[in-house]
């Protein structure tokens, strides 16, 4: 019985202590973090080429697959510079190589053999990259690669 009364007394004290502490020792809690301007480029889909039925064009659209480049930036909007595309393979000589870029964030560049600079207006975006190579003499058997360098900078 004595124990029961003591417990009640303890519980009655708790709200009073909390109120007293709150009014006399107000504290500001600061959670501080720094966002550094950083850029992460990820080729989320590598992309693949397939040859057209007439054998004159390698493309990501003739049964191939476009590449996807995901850009994650913090701090400030970056610029993505794509170099001119090049074709490597047994019949690369004499071929015309072109790449096209598009994204929901605003990248838009039709098939072209020159480079492309995409000034992002957001921090996150995914760029879809299509490529094609044309050769009026056709393509010998082998592995072909259309390559370009994507550089994230400010």
């Amino acid at each position: 019985m004595a124990s029961f009364r003591l417990s009640h007394a303890k519980y009655a004290l708790i709200p009073a202590l909390l109120m007293g502490a709150g009014s006399a020792q107000a504290q500001t809690v600061n959670l501080i973090g720094t966002v550094v301007n950083l850029c992460v480029l990820t080729i989320s889909t590598p992309g693949s080429l397939a040859i057209s039925s007439n054998g004159l064009q390698l493309s990501t659209t003739n049964g191939g697959l476009p590449a996807s480049l995901t850009v994650v930036a913090t701090g400030s909007n970056p610029t993505i510079s794509f170099s001119s595309p090049s074709l490597v393979g047994p019949s690369s000589g004499g071929a015309t190589t072109e790449v096209a870029y598009s994204s929901t964030g605003g990248a838009s560049h039709a098939y072209d053999s020159s480079g492309y600079v995409y000034a992002m207006n957001r921090l996150l975006d995914t760029v879809t990259i299509n490529g094609r190579a044309s050769n009026s003499s056709g393509f010998r058997s082998g592995v072909y690669t259309i390559s370009a360098t994507a550089t994230c900078s400010q």
Partner: protein, 133 residues
């Protein structure tokens, strides 16, 4: 020739090799010093799910200037980072002349970009070192 073309259709690439990716920051930095050397600190990040080797190198400041910058020391120039790991790089611009402003880009990419991938990803930071006159 037709047989070659058909063979090509099958030989040509299901490019399923690991993708290219890299993270680097900050994307720009600048500093003033009263001596011939100025150091910067950058953070290299591995966004892969696996351990990966990266290299860092200095080139000219313009976006199309790939001239190697021999005045720049990078410590370390190559790194193997675990999955989702980052590490600091020490970048030192050397031989600064009194009153000189030296600008360059510090770029990072995979040591061995995968073959067959259409896009080789790299990130470049623009750095400016100025020595007091």
């Amino acid at each position: 020739m037709k047989a070659d073309l058909l063979t090509a259709a099958f030989a040509i690439l299901a490019m399923t090799t690991p993708a290219g990716a890299v993270g680097l920051g900050p994307l720009s930095d600048e500093g003033v010093i009263d001596g011939p050397r100025k150091a910067f600190s950058l953070t290299l990040y591995n966004p892969y799910e696996e351990s990966m080797a990266f290299r860092a190198y200095a080139v000219g400041i313009d976006n199309d200037d790939e001239t190697p910058q021999l005045r720049v020391t990078i410590l370390p120039p190559e790194n193997r980072l675990g999955s989702r790991q980052s590490r600091r790089l020490l970048i030192i611009a050397n031989d600064l002349q009194p009153g000189e402003t030296y600008r360059f880009r510090l770029c990072a990419e995979r040591v061995n970009p995968p073959t067959g991938v259409v896009i080789n990803a790299r990130v470049c930071s623009k750095l400016t070192a100025r020595r007091l006159g």
